[in-house]
């Protein structure tokens, strides 16, 4: 029997009829075609599938679909507002923070959650906040640079609104 799921995805209400054994990751990618959320292990070991669940960054590969009912999910597709990229996205694109781009959605989610909570984090704090996301391309330096640059941009009122 399928599970009927009502929840909010990227600010819009979504209804889906899903295989009840699926995780949130599978529902997002396979039932809602939101393939921006990636997966590298499905065991909580890489961070690629991070999404915001009720504003908290979590690993969608470990969330059973039953527990999403009535909750709010934000994926990388939801970072763009009215066709404008989030300053994090702009800075990631400009400064080489995304090479192959596969870990990027998860890292953007974790970085957004950090900046939402702490608008002016130190480089050490950024490192710590992103330490649940593996990147195999960049060596992380340009990601840290991009997050720092986006802090400046956000501070200058350069948000999307």
């Amino acid at each position: 029997m399928k599970l009927r799921l009502n929840f909010s995805v990227n600010g819009e209400s979504a209804e889906a009829l899903v295989d009840p054994d699926k995780t949130l990751l599978e529902v997002l990618r396979e039932d809602l075609q939101l393939t921006g959320t990636k997966h590298g292990c499905e065991l909580g070991e890489c961070g690629a599938c991070a999404v915001l669940l009720d504003d908290q960054p979590v690993l969608s590969c470990l969330v059973v679909s039953h527990e999403c009912e009535g909750r709010s999910v934000v994926t990388v597709e939801g970072l763009t507002v009215d066709g404008r990229l989030h300053p994090l996205q702009e800075c990631f694109a400009d400064l080489g923070a995304s090479q192959c781009g596969y870990c990027t959605p998860g890292i953007l989610i974790a970085a957004k959650a950090l900046l939402d909570r702490e608008p002016n984090p130190s480089r050490d704090l950024i490192r710590e906040a992103l330490s649940g996301n593996l990147c195999r391309c960049t060596g992380y330096q340009q990601i840290l640079d991009a997050v720092e640059a986006s802090i400046v941009r956000l501070g200058e009122g350069g948000d999307q609104k």
């Binding site: 054994d21 960054p57 050490d124 704090l125 330490s131």
Partner: protein, 343 residues
């Protein structure tokens, strides 16, 4: 993609309902809290419960009561604890332990109850069904032999909880609730040194809360050894807590993590500390005791001989920190970052 086996999901609103549902068939019902341990295990078919009782909706499990000591609901997330001011201020050992569990994302999901009940780990066991099939399985699941030590008659999987050693050092008790009653036990008594039967919790019991006594006069610390600054379970760890009168210790507890199938108390050495000031010689003798007790096996990252040797250094670092030595540089090197908290 790794996928879950089929299961039935039930979502109680109260501990009472959860306990009643668990009691219906405790053998193949499991409790789902943060899911960070159970879901990967189910995907690897290490566990295949037919029913999951999801505790998310049981709001009474998500409370923290800090009026007298600290009572933490089992469903409180590790992140919530890390960001709890009183945990940081009064129980630094617990804060250091919880702040080093897994990753920030996993701490947003994982709960204190889940970490206390964390399944013991082993590199012969934390593998997919097909991998385990290739070694004809192991004693802990579907097989007969403990490949860690083929002559062993018990499973040698390793206790990998960071929170439990810290909590035991701080004198924690836990509450276990079943359909038939409630009991409080000292956290140390929740554990048995057996990789398969590592919890004395009955299959029909729910761990609902962990309680810490008041912290006045106590100092506490946690030192964790792992390969990387994030993600990794401990391969050796020490929690130490002591109540001081001036620079003299009144009572102390020292607990080792990840060197046995349970958190291991260094009882005799801790008893020797009572009434003493922490001299270098005394610390060395405690470290010797800990070294002797630690029995790491070849089933985690790193070589077991080296892990055992590092116990001395970890215990010494912990005691020095209790003494008041400035250990920040050493901790940053070991943890690979200064432990941080968002204010």
């Amino acid at each position: 993609m790794m996928r879950l086996p089929s299961y039935r999901y039930r979502a109680p609103k109260t501990v009472q309902d959860a306990a009643a549902w668990l009691a219906e068939s405790p053998g193949d019902t499991m409790l789902l809290a943060g899911g960070t341990d159970l879901i990967p295990n189910m995907k690897r078919r290490q566990q295949a419960p037919s029913t999951l009782v999801g505790l998310r909706g049981v709001t009474e499990l998500a409370q923290v009561d800090d009026r007298d000591g600290l009572e933490i609901g089992a469903g409180v997330t590790l992140s919530a604890l890390v960001h709890h001011d009183r945990v940081h201020a009064r129980y630094p050992g617990l804060w250091q332990a919880v702040g080093q569990i897994a990753t920030p994302l996993l701490r947003n999901m994982g709960t204190i109850g889940g970490n206390i009940c964390l399944d013991t780990r082993c590199t012969y066991y934390d593998q997919s069904f097909e991998w385990r099939q290739a070694i004809n399985f192991c004693m802990k699941k579907d097989g007969d032999t403990c490949w860690v030590a083929t002559s062993s008659d018990k499973c040698l999987a390793v206790s990998s909880t960071d929170a439990a050693p810290a909590l035991i050092a701080l004198g924690a008790t836990v509450r276990l609730v079943s359909a038939t009653g409630t009991r409080d036990v000292a956290l140390t008594d929740l554990y048995a040194n057996d990789g398969m039967h590592y919890l004395t919790r009955r299959a029909d019991e729910i761990l609902t809360a962990v309680t810490l006594p008041r912290a006045e006069g106590w100092r506490s610390t946690y030192w964790k050894l792992r390969r990387r600054g994030s993600f990794d379970f401990p391969v050796a760890a020490v929690a130490a807590a002591a109540r001081f009168d001036g620079d003299r210790i009144v009572e102390a507890r020292i607990v080792l993590g990840a060197v046995a199938s349970r958190p291991l108390e260094v009882l005799a050495a801790a008893a020797r500390l009572a009434g003493q000031t922490l001299t270098d010689d005394l610390m060395a003798s405690v470290a010797d005791d800990a070294y002797t007790l630690a029995k790491p096996m070849d089933n985690t990252d790193f070589e077991l001989v080296w892990r055992k040797k590092t116990v001395r250094s970890l215990v010494t670092s912990a005691l020095r920190e209790l003494r008041g030595d400035d250990m920040r540089a050493a901790r940053t090197k070991l943890a690979r970052h200064p432990l941080l908290v968002i204010s």
